[in-house]
């Protein structure tokens, strides 16, 4: 289990390769990567605030819960905070499992919890000014399936 909360960028490919290489007894590796998306076609930057201390604890709790719920070999979570430009990677999760169903479900589970239960908040700055991103009902609803 490897959990990192950091300001600096990470190399998605290098992390994915390192994670996959560490598990020859696991047949399936799934990764998810979230990228700053230029939604309104005018995004200048995204600022991510978090709650140091609680963030690490919450991510670790959810990773442990995933290891309990699914037949998993390992979990990696990297999440950035600070100011990011469009196209930059915000975060990644990776899961390794003997079979693909567990790897997929664990990655989806982690993402659903990360979205609504890890203490991160996003603020977008466009040409019109800055505003906090509102939580989506569909993200809250997604938790209902677990």
């Amino acid at each position: 289990m490897d959990i990192r909360v950091q300001e600096q960028p990470f190399d998605f490919g290098a992390e994915a390769n390192r994670f996959a290489a560490g598990h020859t007894e696991m047949g399936a590796v799934v990764t998810f990567t979230g990228i700053v998306r230029d939604v309104a076609d005018g995004l200048q930057s995204m600022q991510i605030e978090h709650y140091p201390g609680m963030t690490e604890k919450a991510l670790e709790q959810h990773a442990r819960e995933a290891l309990t719920r699914f037949k998993l070999g390992d979990v990696l979570i990297i999440h950035r905070y600070g100011v990011l430009a469009p196209g930059e990677m915000i975060m990644m999760v990776a899961t390794a499992a003997p079979h693909r169903a567990d790897a997929f479900q664990a990655a989806e589970y982690l993402m659903d919890y990360l979205k609504s239960r890890a203490p991160f908040w996003k603020k977008e700055t466009t040409g019109d000014g800055a505003g906090w991103v509102a939580a989506k009902d569909e993200d809250e609803d997604a938790l209902g399936r677990w």
Partner: protein, 81 residues
């Protein structure tokens, strides 16, 4: 008791954290005390349905007891990932 504010709660109140002397027995009682202080607190806590609270870095409810709690944090619904 340490009280922390994040995202727009922090911006409305105008500071990220403060030490609060209180006899409040629950989160709701603490919120009621804070709202009476100043207009900026009233603005931040006007709609509790738009707020979340954590006690000692664990998510909690507004009717949760404060006994033994050292750190209370208020913030909007989280938007990670």
């Amino acid at each position: 008791m340490e009280v922390l504010y994040f995202a727009w709660v922090r911006e409305r109140i105008g500071l990220p954290r403060e030490t609060v002397e209180t006899e409040a027995k629950t989160v709701a009682e603490l919120v009621a005390e804070l709202r009476k202080r100043e207009e900026r607190y009233e603005a931040a806590f006007a709609d509790l349905s738009a707020l979340r609270v954590a006690l000692d870095q664990e998510l909690a409810d507004f009717d949760a007891p404060l006994e033994g709690v050292r750190e209370v944090a208020f913030f909007p619904p989280m938007t990670g990932g």
